[in-house]
Point group: D2
Chain length 345, copies 4
Amino acid sequence: MIKVGIVGGTGYTGVELLRILAAHPEVQLTCITSRKEDGLPVAEMYPSLRGRVSLAFSSPDNTRLGDCDVVFFATPHGVAMSQARELLASGVKIIDLAADFRIKNVAEFEKWYGIPHTCPDLLEGAVYGLPELQREAIRSSRLIGNPGCYPTTMQLGYYPFLKAGLINPGQLIADCKSGVSGAGRKAEIGTLFSEASDNLKAYSVAGHRHVPETLEQLRKMTNASVGLVFTPHLIPMIRGMHSTLYATLNHPVSNDELQQLVEDTYRNEPFVDVMPFASHPETRSVRGSNTLRISLHRPGNGTTLIILVVQDNLMKGASGQAVQCMNLMSGLPETVGLTQLPILP
Amino acid sequence: MIKVGIVGGTGYTGVELLRILAAHPEVQLTCITSRKEDGLPVAEMYPSLRGRVSLAFSSPDNTRLGDCDVVFFATPHGVAMSQARELLASGVKIIDLAADFRIKNVAEFEKWYGIPHTCPDLLEGAVYGLPELQREAIRSSRLIGNPGCYPTTMQLGYYPFLKAGLINPGQLIADCKSGVSGAGRKAEIGTLFSEASDNLKAYSVAGHRHVPETLEQLRKMTNASVGLVFTPHLIPMIRGMHSTLYATLNHPVSNDELQQLVEDTYRNEPFVDVMPFASHPETRSVRGSNTLRISLHRPGNGTTLIILVVQDNLMKGASGQAVQCMNLMSGLPETVGLTQLPILP
Amino acid sequence: MIKVGIVGGTGYTGVELLRILAAHPEVQLTCITSRKEDGLPVAEMYPSLRGRVSLAFSSPDNTRLGDCDVVFFATPHGVAMSQARELLASGVKIIDLAADFRIKNVAEFEKWYGIPHTCPDLLEGAVYGLPELQREAIRSSRLIGNPGCYPTTMQLGYYPFLKAGLINPGQLIADCKSGVSGAGRKAEIGTLFSEASDNLKAYSVAGHRHVPETLEQLRKMTNASVGLVFTPHLIPMIRGMHSTLYATLNHPVSNDELQQLVEDTYRNEPFVDVMPFASHPETRSVRGSNTLRISLHRPGNGTTLIILVVQDNLMKGASGQAVQCMNLMSGLPETVGLTQLPILP
Amino acid sequence: MIKVGIVGGTGYTGVELLRILAAHPEVQLTCITSRKEDGLPVAEMYPSLRGRVSLAFSSPDNTRLGDCDVVFFATPHGVAMSQARELLASGVKIIDLAADFRIKNVAEFEKWYGIPHTCPDLLEGAVYGLPELQREAIRSSRLIGNPGCYPTTMQLGYYPFLKAGLINPGQLIADCKSGVSGAGRKAEIGTLFSEASDNLKAYSVAGHRHVPETLEQLRKMTNASVGLVFTPHLIPMIRGMHSTLYATLNHPVSNDELQQLVEDTYRNEPFVDVMPFASHPETRSVRGSNTLRISLHRPGNGTTLIILVVQDNLMKGASGQAVQCMNLMSGLPETVGLTQLPILP
């Protein structure tokens, strides 16, 4: 059994980790910290866990995280970096669901997140936790920067075509739509039910923190210069992310070849489902599961390729992906604990 | 492995059965019938099942249901009774999610459902599939009438107090609220998104089909005459049922005694969770799971007892309960395949 | 033109007042105060008002409320009472949308609201602003305590029957359902979209602040002792309130007589619509309008009377009712500025 | 008073016309036809209109539409063209909310709508009812093809820039999001609450009927060849449309110049609101109103221009725009009856 600790488990990625790990056959939930909720049984904050999780939150000061095999940070940006060195020294493996270890370029990190990076020397050893593209590196890693939700969809969507040189890397447009849980469990006006339901808006169009991370990864897929326009939208649904990815084809290519390419790329991936050409994946078809679905469109057989990608932003977009990394790092089958079927309706 | 067939699997209770059974370790999904969708892979209608269910719908005419160990009817009222005799004769166990075998009183059935009962002789052997109150009868049964969603909450809520003679059976008021999936997957104006969202209404206040079934069961719990006012409401949520049950206390009794009674009643029940006195259970705390939660209130310590009950109407209110019955009928542990944690948020 | 000021216009009742008053032909919006948003144009906070409201928020310290004819307080409880004396002395009429002037019994107010009442002497002159029951008193009043949303439905629902002595005042059960906007525009976890949507819960069942106000008013309608069980529920819709009111009939009475009584009671009321017997009013049928709809049910022609009442909680339940009072106090036709048709779908 | 008839008023554009026209000071609602609902008072189907609309539906056979001044067709495609000739001959003005008179190219119409056009000779005299771009033609027209909802946003968004030659007409990408009411009031599985809520999907990506109409209009704005990729998405909200329009800038131009251009274009338009540069308009900011809001973005000051456009799909996207046309055709002020403020929250 793997002894697992969670730092900062009061948010949505935290409770989603708990939902997964409470049923994971190889995991022993050992501790979950929250300074503010010290002593509160987790199931009192989240009654959905009554009878399934008996842990209480404990103050970080009184919690021996060093005894864990793996520690997840489901915390705001900046927390993981402050504790990583000590935990690594104790032999603990770390998976950070925030951005601290996602970006190699320290200047970019500091520019977008507005905080100094306190352990840039650890960045080199950190692995970007997208198993489909970094599987072997993750297996041997001890420090994972778990990808952002939007970046996961953009990378897995564009990857086959950038890699094959079929699309123009300088003209990528990602029109992305996220459910409200992506904003986290924070008391804020903008995500109140009465503000966010029966409504739709774009946000952060001038620049969103997921841009630098995505650019850094997309650049690995091509030698050419990458240009990305990223437009996130807030959608009145709890979970779910739908990315509508536009790209310009470089060469004459048939639709069959495009479809074949993406099917070949992901044929053996347990969590990537390539749907038939011209399908319309729905976010609810992955609700509560770790599956990401992709389909291709090419309106009028022209030069614009559309890649539709859906995922559950809390699963493949966050906590599910983190557990997928944990499985790899722990020598377990990649899918163990992650076989939940989507809830539909 | 239990060979399982599903008759009429295109509705919401059907796809929920598929979600549960596709992950059930002791079940082999053998066939699923739909006259209209003959030949269509199930996963094309429900992409959430892609990669998990490879069955296709088959026409009832070409389907050897008689080879199954258990057949679920996820059909409109009246279908199961037309096929029950033959299947039982073939040694198949039947669980009907419609009303055909819920009500012993044939006249009542025919009055409320508007169709003649074609096999009243089978009713005597049929068992009402509410495991918490009929566990032993279910174990040895071959024909189950699976309870309605509302009746499950009313019975499990009122049972401890009616049995103990603490409340007046003649003055029960059940103000119940259901998510829209309770209306099924039928093309109807009233349950369109644009009609049912951002809206609330009561319906069928003059009389709802779940009344006769509930009365028949409640009468088993008391010698006195039962009077029930049942007011269902349609709520803009997909899943979830919240019953607010009112009763008048007969005798002086302390809140501790009331709480103790309901805790004692359900102490060993794997799917009934008694919450602390004066809690407010939320429907989302059981979303996607087979758990039903109960809490008690007594405003001003007066003579009115309020029993709050929540469940997922498609799980404990329908398909989850049906699989719970199947487990019992098949000699399996009652909880196998039913340990999904609730999805929250 | 009536010069109108609004104190504390950043919440939902404030913006709803602005929506009504910006189109009110007899009103000149003069000032709207917010200490925190001093200087911010109202239309920047609420883009729905762009081009329609040119006012900016002003600090209370720099705002000459004394020059207004009418001032609305759309503030937390306790604010209106601190400014009422001075404004009344300046000849300003006051309509408080909070609870400061709703309850005559100071001890009850202080018990439920947890703050001392700082001007109990003004309470005697204050009028409870429910025009259907207090029309003449409102006309001549200078200080209005605008009713709570739930209390409006309970009073208008029970009134005809209590007045006529047809129901037992000691056995009233009000099972009420409110949209989330009733909780106001406050940054709180519990009303986040990801918490409150696709969910339902009861709350404050042990005791809600709208009880004392309702009891005080119901007691005026009968000589007998009033017993009220009030169970509020939070519903995933923005606006809308549905009260399901239960009462026990005292005497043999026909359904026609019951229907006739309520129709006679409200025949000339511009904002109360009595629907046919056994109708099911929907909250969306009043969305955005000042109309309240009522219908009666009597299951099985028994002794339980069910009164269904729907309203828009921000209109007839708050700001619409306040403007209705303003019209009366100002000698205007009661309906001026309040003829918005409901938005459906 | 203008005598107005509505053909086919049972759908959402029909009830929205009724909501507007019932309060329009210059309109006398004369008749509303429905073969299926002959004799049914409109307010029984739409209780929101109780007390405000006393008309009943009448069979088209018994309805003297020829006595009307203006007739709206809120019908499926193909109905208006079958009655237009006779009504025009009677001197009636016609506004068709379907597609019969939107497209001049008959072959294109027949290809996309799958029905023959039965009065192509009338097309020449028909005017495309987008007042901001066709005001004078509408004033003198007697036959209006009211624009589709998506096309309204695409045209008003792209118009200033195409006209000025600032963007490349061959590379337009319109990523559009619509509330579910856009699908109409039809009993269909796909728009049930339990299917469409908490969900998001693209649809008709291979080709949507609004493409030919939009192309025909966009081509008027430029001499160059127009290339449009149009991707509609279904969003879990009742009303509201958000179009995220992408274009490539042709020339070096400052953001101020871009903003100035769009402000100048729409300065005197009563129903087009140009928001500050880099704003994020929300659909709810126009809910229930005839206003369309536009804002511009230019990520990284690069060559991609993003134009955000929001409207209420049933108002500016359908019935509000139709009444705007009626006002123009009738010599009334353009805004009369269309001054409803948006409902927020």
